[in-house]
């Protein structure tokens, strides 16, 4: 088909009138958003993709979403724990000009919930690895009687240190993924409890440098 201006315009119009079918990637409704983000739909209504939060993040975990998540979500901020973790400085939630990220405190910070991937976690088939338990700043992971890590949903704030530090890939050549991954908190999971004490940024850094 020859792509003329008219066909391009009509295709663009078709895309505009049916956003649900073409843009919204329903299975991708689990994108991790920066701290203080509103619910996904309200977030998308307010976010003007100004990239302020991407710029300000001191640990560079906020990155613009790729087109793989759909045209509607392209360039909106998402969290990636590939290279760093959230040090709960909360600058992103304070700087947002449109209110897509609402100001949060360290007590209410809730990026997501860490989930143990049992098939990839080394401690689940062979005891000995305690990396996530040792690194967790909120003491949200404990070892059960078989020395396997278990997460306390009320304490986890989704800071991502566990996902960043998880050594599963380097410990086993058969394991291809991290043994613990931060995902969006499911609606049926218990909410984070405000009284949980979080260690400060300095303590986190100290802890990581001493490792």
């Amino acid at each position: 088909m020859k792509l003329t201006r008219r066909t391009f315009l009509s295709a663009a119009a078709a895309v505009c009138v049916s956003p649900d079918s073409l843009f919204a990637d329903n299975k991708e409704d689990t994108l991790l958003r920066p701290p203080g983000a509103l619910s996904e739909n309200s977030f998308l209504a307010r976010c003007n993709r100004c990239q302020k939060c991407v710029q300000i993040c001191p640990t560079n975990i906020i990155i613009p979403a790729s087109f793989e998540h759909g045209l509607l979500k392209a360039n909106t901020p998402v969290i990636s724990f590939k290279r760093s973790y959230c040090n709960s400085c909360l600058k992103c939630s304070e700087i947002c000009p449109t209110g897509a990220l609402q100001p949060v405190t360290k007590e209410t910070l809730d990026i997501g919930l860490a989930v143990i991937i049992e098939k990839d976690c080394v401690a689940w088939d062979w005891t000995g690895c305690t990396v996530c338990v040792d690194n967790c700043p909120t003491k949200a992971i404990f070892l059960d009687e078989y020395k396997r890590p278990v997460i306390i949903p009320e304490k986890c704030n989704g800071c991502g240190i566990c996902e960043l530090k998880c050594p599963s890939i380097s410990l086993r050549s058969s394991i291809l993924g991290k043994g613990i991954i931060v995902r969006k908190r499911p609606s049926d999971a218990p909410p984070r409890k405000a009284e949980t004490v979080i260690s400060t940024k300095e303590e986190n850094i100290e802890k990581n440098t001493s490792d």
Binding site: N41, A45, N48, R49, K52, Q55, I63, E68, K82, P97
Partner: protein, 257 residues
Amino acid sequence: MKKIHLTKLRYFVLTGAVIAVAAADFTNTGIGTFCNMCPVGFMQVTAASRSIPQGMLTGVAVFTAVAYLGGRFFCSWFCPTSFISRITGIQNTAAAKTAGYFVKYIPHAILAVSVIASFFLKFPVFCLICPIGIFFGFIFAVLKIFHVFEPSANLIIFPIILTVELIFFRKWCSCICPVSLIMRLIAKIPGYKIRPSVNQSTCLLTQGLQCNQCANNCKEKIEVTKADKEFIEKCTNCMDCVEQCPTNSILPGIKRR
């Protein structure tokens, strides 16, 4: 007298803005991009979220004030679209003077449709295809490589969208762009305006000579010497006419119009 190369200066303004945005990313200071002063984005976010985004008010106010004084100042000095079309040689031509009533009101329709669609679809619609936003999206796609050490699809898709928009819509700036429309509407408000003004005593045209260098070099096809209503509205303060005038009769100046 040595000519001031204002047109050369223009390239440094956007380059400087891009460097500032990248530097802010590396030094972790949130300065944002042009999106925070975009009146179209402001209207769309207001419509989509049914609330006024407080953090954008300052930026939009500054933008409005500058547009009141300088008209479509942003188009020639800051807009990545005109920058790209200038350096690639894709002429982003102005609409023909004889363009019909229908063509003249396309930007109005696009602005209205974007705001109304944003209200019903609950997301800023025009932002998805805005070439200014896509240009900065590409900059951030490049910066992303340094943060997560892996390229994303944005690196390929954003330049494709930009190319398609600039090649299929050569008259984007005058016939589609709602940001440009808003600046034209603000520029219509009478008062003090910064525009190139012609010194009639030295202008060759008033002496009966066929010069017309200013109008021939104008990207917006404005008859600079006439200084009519259209001139105030369409002029982007690009300073091409100032540079091209053989007798230095055109200089930027502030005047009550």
